[in-house]
Symmetry: D2
Subunit: 309 residues, 4 copies
């Protein structure tokens, strides 16, 4: 009851072009903590304040982009229940053995109609946030190493058939629609933001002809001042900034979009409202979508709809 089923985006795996350059980038610029490497050569990271062993994984490849994302569910029973529900809904699932990812239990993988691999899992080792669970401090020095986000928060994926992905996520996995952009026909969604909690978005999609693409993975900061600090750190490190600091109209969050050394877009953001499933979804129309995406510029920049990995 209350907060059950699918809890949150728990991990995302991206492809990078140069592993060690990327490790250095994610450790020292983004400020993630490297928590392990596996036999496949993948490197695992977590943010300073996350408790589970990993949330962000990279592997070297010839092409940057999105491998898969995993959502943590409340327990193993729920995992199998949701697996059965997916199958009953007509979604093909695959089990991946515990341990295939470091410190992570069994995963149930399926492909969304948008061409993205998603996974559910119930277990990932709690390695703590660098503090005791008894009488902790407010934060630790790692909270100031690099941009140092609080958590890997959500992702925006590009692909076709987003309404079919939405149906699976809503009907089977319990997500709900928070905001959407409707095309000129007044009925087809260009973009949807979905939540499985009271976050304004746990995952989002934009309709796009090519399947399986990543627009960005997003990291949470805890203030607008930290957004400025993130922009400063990006500039000091000559990171390619796409746009920001600015505010989104959608979700009201404050944001920067930028690119990792392989061209994968990431976001460092803060704020925005918290949403509830009994709330009516907010709708944006195409004549105002620029303000919806970038509240201050009030127009999409050149890269928003075109540059994905």
């Amino acid at each position: 009851m209350a907060m059950t089923g699918v809890l949150r985006p728990g991990h995302i795996q991206l492809r990078v072009l140069d592993l060690e350059e990327s490790v250095k980038f994610y450790k020292d610029v983004i400020g993630l903590i490297e928590t392990g490497r596996d036999k496949q050569g993948r490197v695992y990271f977590k943010t300073w304040d996350e408790r589970d062993h990993n949330s962000f994984i990279i592997r070297q490849a010839d092409r940057a982009g999105f491998d898969f994302a995993g959502f943590k569910v409340s327990d193993v029973e729920t995992l199998y229940k949701l697996e059965a529900d997916l199958v009953a809904y007509g979604v093909k699932t695959e089990r991946i053995a515990a341990g295939e990812m470091l410190e992570t239990g069994e995963r149930v993988r399926f492909e969304l109609p948008t061409g993205h691999l998603l996974e559910l899992y119930a277990e990932k080792t709690d390695v703590g946030n660098g503090q005791s669970y008894e009488n902790p401090e407010a934060w630790v020095p790692a909270a100031e190493h690099g941009i140092a986000p609080i958590r890997m928060d959500h992702m925006l994926l590009y692909g076709p058939d987003i309404e079919k992905a939405q149906a699976i996520l809503q009907d089977v996995l319990g997500f709900y629609l928070v905001e959407h952009v409707v095309l000129e026909d007044g009925k087809t969604d260009l973009a949807i933001w979905l939540s499985t909690s009271i976050k304004a978005h746990d995952i989002a999609f934009v309709r796009h002809p090519e399947p399986g693409k990543l627009h960005h993975v997003s990291f949470l900061l805890d203030s607008w001042e930290k957004v400025l600090r993130a922009a400063d750190i990006m500039s000091m490190n000559r990171v390619s900034i796409d746009i920001g600091p600015t505010r989104h109209g959608v979700t009201r969050g404050t944001t920067i979009y930028a690119f990792d050394p392989s061209g994968n877009r990431f976001e460092t953001f803060c704020g925005g409202y918290q949403s509830y499933p009994d709330w009516k979804a907010i709708k944006w129309t195409m004549d105002d979508v620029g303000r919806g995406v970038f509240y201050h510029d009030r127009k999409l920049n050149d890269t928003f709809l075109t540059v994905v990995t």
Copy 2:
């Protein structure tokens, strides 16, 4: 699935000594919006960004304090399901007809072992947050009238038998423990913070001999700078400030405690972490509880354990 069952604290009713003085206070100092008055003489308020018709209700009485609080559940089926679950658990429930509170559906009321009346309800009229649900702005002028919190967020209640209240909230209603203070015996909780979402607290209790007491009702702000602004506005209006601006160790939120004209304590707070039900609860011991409650002063102030309404 995901965010279901009990969603959030949806309303709280307090007693005040002078109704019109209190209305003025809650409208112009706290910055709530008056949304109605009923035949019983109760005055209803909401915050600018809440969508449901009311969240904060006052009535005139000879003694200040807490009447009851209501939690919104996801739908009417859930309401009856939880009612049955409560009864099955041995909790006596009472139905209150739709409309007894303005714009509010049927409520299921029960008394916690701490002496507090709680209610569940599934329906309250969506009156919006002063904006269209299509192409909205980031905020509206009402967001700057008085302290102007985002929402009525949680409450801290004082009473006996808090472990019995906790059992009902956890076992029947799906709350989970986020943090607690353990007495010197190492096993009895002095205080517990419970969540029904990913908020670090939707309700909290402190063990206290007298039942049914209110420590504070809490209003959410969206930045530490808004906490400063709240303190300034309190001072400009000569509001009695209990403590703050400061930070809590528990939940890490930044905070001010102050008193309404009747002596009811309220909090205006921001931030703190977000919690998940798979997380281990944080424990505070009595030798460090001062830092847990007031992170900077690192000691309880005189009023914290004694002044309640």
Copy 3:
């Protein structure tokens, strides 16, 4: 001694295309307070926290742009002393009688080699900041009407012969150089930022073929969060934003550039360091000037060097 001579930019007069539209803009969007109108039809404004009667004046004309700016000096003796110093330096001066501007004493006007009219004056009526000078509050409601800057802070002017303007301001009027951008020849300045106090800039110039042009007049805000609020208010009012929120490399201030309804650029900014006359000036070279001007984008936008009024 200490803080003497030329104290600060005290007023600036701009031309606007539609007076009443501009009055509405400066009152309700920028949040200035209208303090008077004179027989010439000029409208006078001050910010909420300024104490002198006016700091920002507009008049209707066929072409937007800069009329003149005035610097307040410490007293009337200093005014005449500086007038004599200007004349001795070879600068032609003109006296304008007290009262020609509302609530303003005698002014000594001269033209800079960049084609801009500057003035010195010693007297402007203290009308207060809306509070008593005895036991004041921290701020007043006017501090939240519109963008509500603290003060008219500085201006950036475009014109030829900026080194000659600099010589007059330094040698005669006591300004000092804080930062500058040097052209590829390694010796000619493209841009100079000058201070007459510990502000990082009281006036600035960019070398430009056309004389007497305005790049922007700048209004001070007191936090980065107020910069976000300013951007929000601009967007709500569909103000044309040139760039920002972002940070300048020069002075480190955080900033938004935007345009008034007549196309005059204004800045709302916060922060940056404070400077002292014993400090070595900071130099920017052309290969890094983009980062100097816009620290996050690290390139000049199209309008920076071309759009002036």
Copy 4:
């Protein structure tokens, strides 16, 4: 002209009880940079953003407290001019040879009627702020080591005859009165805040029977969020906090008072308004002085008038 004569508080020397414990405190908690030690055993510090070699000096002694403070003047001619002016005013002066303090030129020392030794000096080696003066970044990693203030900003001194100290500072050295607290007699000042720039205070005094006492030395931060961060760091290091985070009514600055390991009070503060010498001083009366000092609590705490070193 403009910013001349006495520029700013440039150094302060305090006595501490345990030198190495204090060095560790000022380096790792306050976040100062140690820049040298001299043959007398004194340890020299600067903040990360100060350019001169030192601003804060400690020496070991049996009793904590204030040795002296030095104000930088614009040049050597000014130094001798002010020395002559002091002597002409009846103030006894003493020259201290260049080099007696590390990297510091000749000093002119005199005693205020309050029993405090002040010094003027014109030269201190520019060692930079950790960046080039060509194409710098917005900040450096040292800006996040410990509390990491921007500068040693001002000091509040306790002693008798503050009106005589004020006379010297105003009549000879060019300071001006910004705010003051007037005793019940309506004419005697309890406290005065004086500026030699556009800072709301470069030095302040409270009337006190015992001469030569230190209330606090103050370090500047650049945002209210940094004030919170400072309080957090103090708490993490179990620093004794006197009061705060809060706001002053006087100057409007946000603040924390705390004690170093020897019991010397220091302040970390941000903001407040900027002042000009043509402004009327703000007056506080004894019935409202609590709000003047601590704007939110609206009463003096027990230690404010009694605990000094």
